[in-house]
């Protein structure tokens, strides 16, 4: 593989805007990251933060108009995806870059048998004959843990449960042995026990096939156990970018810290009140001047309301969009050592106890 500097995917200052009646919405406004082979990146954000648009942009799935990738590079395995013709993009999409969507109920065609939908992929991309494609499809269903795949393959989507449909989606996504898998909220619509099954499955397949994964989610718990590094997005901007362990232990951004604190953390004894980020997520079409998070930020000062914050480098792989990134980082380190001193971060046998 001819990767640039060993990276499978390089996204550089990507900007995707939407023209709406309400004005220009900068859904994604400058996101930069690299992904190596076998690496997992988590993209975390609330609704409207731009996390899904980022990934639709990589796949060139932004409806145009109203949307448009207005700037930046998307280099996949040495090729600039933005410069490819639609035909060439189609050769990559579904074959080398595959995607799993949030809602397994609506992303399968209800009128077609599972077999038809699975076989189509390999017939198109790998030039399989009908018989080969069918055999391959059964093998894939087996891989993702669908019991009795041989007979179930001719069923229709409505005959499968939510968890099973998501397995079918994963089987379809992995049928061409893609180099990159983009999973957009793959477990949000599922129950916890099923979520655990699906996450475990993605982990196992990743280990076996060496696939790189981009995992998009709003759930900090999901990314904690699954990813190598994390991007936190807010209002279309990257607010923080760091290796997973570092982001959770020593965040340098007030928004990330607020998010982390506002999730009830069952591993630690609870205080009486849950930390809450005040206010509402902003209207991306009408962002305030200055930092988009300033109106909700616990430590905002005058400058935050006036000037757009810099993207501060904390160390080699850790960046934070904040006027006071270094100070916030220092606070986190202090809190961490204080917590360790008071014995607050003991790891308990049962993490939820």
């Amino acid at each position: 593989m001819s990767e640039i500097n060993g990276h499978l995917l390089t996204v550089n200052d990507l900007k995707t805007y939407f023209q709406t009646e309400d004005g220009m919405v900068k859904a994604v406004d400058g996101i930069t990251f690299t992904l190596s082979k076998g690496e997992t990146l988590g993209i975390v954000g609330e609704s409207g933060s731009g996390k899904s648009v980022t990934n639709l942009s990589i796949m060139r799935l932004i409806p145009e108009p109203p949307g448009k990738i207005v700037g930046g590079d998307i280099i996949f395995d040495g090729v600039d995806v933005r410069k490819l013709s639609i035909d060439d993009v189609r050769k990559i999409r579904g074959k080398r870059i595959a995607m799993i969507f949030q809602d397994p109920m609506t992303s399968l065609n209800p009128f077609l048998k599972i077999s038809t939908q699975l076989m189509e992929v390999t017939e198109l991309h790998l030039g399989h004959t009908k018989a080969q494609a069918r055999e391959h499809a059964i093998k894939m269903l087996d891989t993702v843990g669908i019991p009795d795949a041989k007979s179930r393959i001719d069923g229709y989507p409505h005959e499968f449960s939510g968890g099973m449909r998501q397995r079918v989606m994963i089987a379809m996504a992995l049928s061409c042995d893609p180099e990159l898998l983009i999973a957009d909220e793959p477990t949000t619509a599922l129950d916890v026990t099923i979520q655990a099954q699906i996450l475990e499955l993605i982990k196992a397949l990743k280990a076996r096939m060496g696939t790189s994964v981009i995992l998009i989610t709003h759930d900090l718990g999901v990314v904690a156990g699954m990813t190598d590094k994390i991007i936190v997005m807010y209002a279309g901007k990257v607010f923080e970018q760091a290796p997973t362990a570092e982001l959770f232990s020593t965040s340098a951004n007030p928004y990330t810290k607020g998010l982390l604190k506002s999730v009830p953390d069952p591993a630690h004894e609870e205080g009486t009140e849950l930390y809450q980020i005040p206010g509402l997520p902003p209207d991306v079409a009408h962002l305030p001047p200055g930092c988009p998070f300033a109106p909700r930020c616990y430590r905002a000062e005058d400058i935050c309301h006036r000037e757009f914050p810099p993207f501060v480098q904390i160390d080699e792989n850790h960046f934070s969009l904040c006027h006071f990134a270094k100070e916030v980082y220092a606070e986190s380190i202090e809190e961490k050592s204080a917590a360790a001193y008071s014995g607050d971060v003991q790891i308990q046998l049962n993490p939820l106890g």
Binding site: S47, V192, H218, A224, P266, Y275, R296, P351
Partner: protein
């Protein structure tokens, strides 16, 4: 359970069964289902809700938790059993008599987009219950509405706006204000935070907590979110296919779950801490929740339980007090042998209630 004087709501063997037909003579000749098909959405639940507490009701989709909440308020008619509210059986009341009680029993719904009438202003929505029950006492309804909006953290000036002008979190606040308008004693909150963004979920949980302290409310908090349930609840009830399978103090249930389903459920929750995630052992359950139409015989969980033995298919376990104030429904555990994993290691069979040995012994 503790003295009855503390119980605001007491459910006695509550049932909600939906008959799907089948099994009749006509079905046999017309090629319909040969057996009568019944969805036992709520199947014999006995549960006390104490005054002033938050009881968390947790379970996966389709387990019957929402139906249970609605059956308490008679938004779904129970097909059997009793709902005692301060000792009065609500299930036996006529619709007219029930109406009087609706002042005291309110509900907050999951979907803040669907549960507010889009053609009414927020002021009208919140004022409706006040007018319906004539609670204005001749006073100014408008002022009452504005006070309520302030209580739930909305600006008093917003009374003339329509629901679509608000965000999801604000709409949930409107739903809460409407529930509070009649000054209720008991609120069923059915997945009140599931449709909201993470940063907004904390706001709503804190608001509900504040209101509970100020107004001495009692909550039944229904959710599939185990982290939220643990945070808001005093006690937790775990539901699986129409039955309560574990009940106890929230901290205790999370620290020392007894019933295998609860153990698996809690181990499945991802924890926002990479260090813990790397070390924990997860019990991955096989398969999906079975269909509630004619569920598995014996213990409903036996088809997915890693500890199931032959008896589990036969004996339907009842909710037994395994430790003080901590109840579980599993025939493989008993007060003498409360830990299923140890029982498995020692190869103990059925030790709980309903087994022949126990019947002889006690």
């Amino acid at each position: 359970m503790s003295e009855n004087g503390n119980n605001l709501i007491s459910l006695q063997n509550l049932q909600v069964h939906y008959n799907l037909g089948g099994g009749s003579f006509l079905d046999k000749i017309t090629g319909g289902s040969k057996v009568r098909r019944v969805v036992k959405a709520v199947d014999g639940v006995s549960l006390d809700i104490k005054k002033g507490e938050t009881l968390g009701l947790v379970g996966e989709s389709g387990c019957g938790k929402s139906t249970l909440g609605k059956a308490i308020l008679r938004l779904t008619e129970p097909t059997g059993g009793q709902v005692l509210y301060n000792g009065e059986d609500l299930a036996g009341l006529s619709q007219g008599e029930m109406r009087e009680y609706r002042k005291n029993l309110q509900m907050i719904f999951q979907d803040p987009y669907a549960s507010l009438n889009p053609r009414m202003t927020v002021g009208q929505i919140i004022a409706e219950p006040i007018r319906t029950f004539n609670l204005s006492n001749g006073g100014n309804v408008e002022a009452q509405v504005q006070d309520l909006m302030e209580t739930v953290g909305l600006s008093r000036r917003f009374t003339r706006r329509y629901p679509h002008e608000f965000s999801g979190g604000q709409r949930q606040r409107i739903g809460i204000a409407r529930a509070l308008a009649v000054d209720p004693e008991f609120i069923v909150a059915d997945e009140p935070i599931s449709a909201l963004d993470v940063s907004i979920q904390a706001q709503i949980m804190n608001l509900m907590d504040k209101l509970q302290r100020e107004k001495n409310l009692t909550y039944l908090f229904i959710s599939h979110d185990l982290r939220a349930i643990r945070h808001v609840s005093d006690r937790v009830a775990v539901m699986y296919l129409g039955k309560i399978v574990e009940l106890g103090d929230a901290k205790t249930v999370y620290r020392e779950p007894l019933m295998p389903y609860t153990i698996a459920l809690i181990s499945a929750v991802p924890v926002p801490d990479p260090q813990i995630e790397a070390k924990r052992v997860r019990i991955i359950l096989k398969g999906d929740v079975p269909s509630p139409i004619n569920p598995p015989s014996g213990c409903h969980f036996n088809t997915r339980c890693p500890f199931a033995i032959a008896e589990c298919k036969r004996i339907e376990p009842s909710l037994v007090e395994i430790k003080p104030e901590h109840f579980a429904a599993c025939i493989r555990i008993s007060p003498e042998h409360p830990h299923i994993e140890e029982n498995e290691k020692q190869n103990l069979g059925a030790v709980g209630e309903g087994t022949p040995e126990i019947k002889k012994g006690s």
